[in-house]
Symmetry: C2
Subunit: 305 residues, 2 copies
């Protein structure tokens, strides 16, 4: 059944109604397939982001090895926090600090080597509380939603604050989203010829700002080139993306995932990693008329695994 | 018939053999659909780029209006050359100079307004020599090639030195390529709220370098995230993109269009707009073992219109 992991209720109804309305031939709100663009945040929207971003845990494993070999690295605050297992403290230091460490660790590696590293790590990584592989902690209701959208000729993009190369490395496998359909925070890469082969080599600098807040809307334009009509997120860092989708000339649906289920997952407010003072996205949603999805009430099943 | 506008010969055979080889189930050179990425340059590879880039002619029309209203604009060299109808001189001043003028003209306009402008212009614009709409001057053999690739589960991307927003505005219509499958030179856009709507507004600055040479390979990674196995181009600005495709671990095919047909189209060397001293791409192709497509000998029909 379509959206089988969704309980009957306002959220499920809003989704089904919206999809029907914009895809019904000859309907007043019909949107041509070329304009059916859906954008979804990743961490906390498509899979579990607690106790820390999955990518931060990937860094942790690599950090342990690197810090053992290079003591000066172990002195950095974010490195200390991560190596002490204090994931909350690392999270507090923000996406940029985590990304900075990641960048330094992987500078000099080719994009192809990085992709292999990320895949290899995710194949084995286990969640510290749920004791199952992270790859099983994608949200079943959101996978069903993506499938519904695709079945109605939407193109489904991930627009993540996480590293684009990390999410691409696993996005096809986790979500059926191809690498070119992932927009995220990016590092600079350099063009090199090594042993007669062209390779692209990661540098220790980001390409532009982290993909949170206004950059999410700007990067949707840079990569996708169309205003979305569907958007989903779970933090204040998704606000501008949802506003962009919401204020186009086409009908739109904006969903906000409310993490209010500390039994089956976690309960926490939808703040932004890059701007801790920003209003919770659930509050924004109430004010701007977006649909809030309560994990506790709207989902009869949380994880896909 | 597949590739009906291609004469029998080495180029046609190379294409058909390559596509069969990488798509044959169980073959030694089989490439999974997810990795069947094809990248094609636009100007001079998919449509006519003489006497000037189509986008430069779009600028010209807008310049005439703008220069009439703002005399200081008319003093710039590239503006003078374009307004004098000296398209060769404008071309000599390079992609960056042409882009600079374009950027200034369109700064402050939303991405959606720019897209409408470009579409409106192309709907009416006529080629000065052929006296037909520019939109009819796409190359029939290349449209057939793109169709063949798609029919074999390739994803087909345009990777252009031209402005990404200009090519996106017309790419779906001309080539069946969606906006998110176009990679090109880009301008910075800013996030603004106007009358309660989020809009993205063009600035007078480019985002990074023009998409020629090494940036083509780097931007393929930034936007597509996979190494291509098929690449086509016609100028020295495409060299690094072709080298990138050619030196992967998968089988690859690199095509270079040789403009050697001054009767049906134009005859000129495949130099780079941004680097006039670079070796002609046809010479590079001979040295590196890429397939040169002679417009005169390999194509029994040039234009799709």
């Amino acid at each position: 059944m379509t959206l089988a992991s969704w309980n009957d209720g306002a959220a499920r109804t809003a989704i089904v109604d919206f999809v029907d309305r914009v895809t019904e031939d000859g309907g007043a709100d019909h949107v041509p397939p070329a304009e059916r663009v859906a954008v979804l945040d990743n961490d906390g929207t498509l899979w579990c982001e607690r106790p820390a971003y999955v990518q931060a845990l990937f860094v942790l494993g690599r950090l342990r090895e690197a810090a053992a070999a290079r003591p000066e690295l172990a002195e950095k605050p974010v490195v200390k926090a991560l190596l002490a297992g204090d994931l909350a403290a690392a999270h507090e230091l923000g996406v940029a600090a985590i990304a900075g460490v990641l960048l330094e660790l992987d500078a000099g590696r080719t994009t192809e080597e990085f992709t292999s590293d990320a895949r290899e790590w995710l194949a084995a990584a286990v969640h510290p509380r749920f004791r199952v592989p992270f790859r099983e902690l994608t949200y079943a209701p959101m996978l069903e939603l993506m499938e519904l959208l695709r079945s109605r000729a939407f193109r489904v993009f991930i627009v993540t604050g996480g590293g684009v190369e990390f999410v691409r490395a696993v996005g096809e496998d986790l979500y059926g989203v191809a690498p070119d359909d992932v927009v995220g925070s990016a590092v600079q890469v350099g063009f090199e010829r090594r042993d007669g082969r062209v390779v692209l080599v990661r540098k220790a600098e980001m390409l532009g700002s982290p993909n949170e807040g206004e950059p999410k809307a700007v990067n949707i334009q840079a990569h996708i080139g169309r205003r979305p009509i569907f958007a989903a997120g779970n933090s204040a860092g998704d606000r501008e993306m949802l506003e962009y989708a919401h204020t186009g000339e086409r009908p739109s649906l904006c969903l906000v995932i409310d993490h209010d289920d500390d039994e089956r997952e976690y309960a926490y407010e939808g703040k932004a990693a890059t701007d801790p003072d920003a209003e919770s996205i659930v509050t924004t949603a109430g004010r701007l008329g977006w649909m809030v999805v309560s994990m506790r009430r709207d989902w009869n099943r949380v994880f896909a695994g």
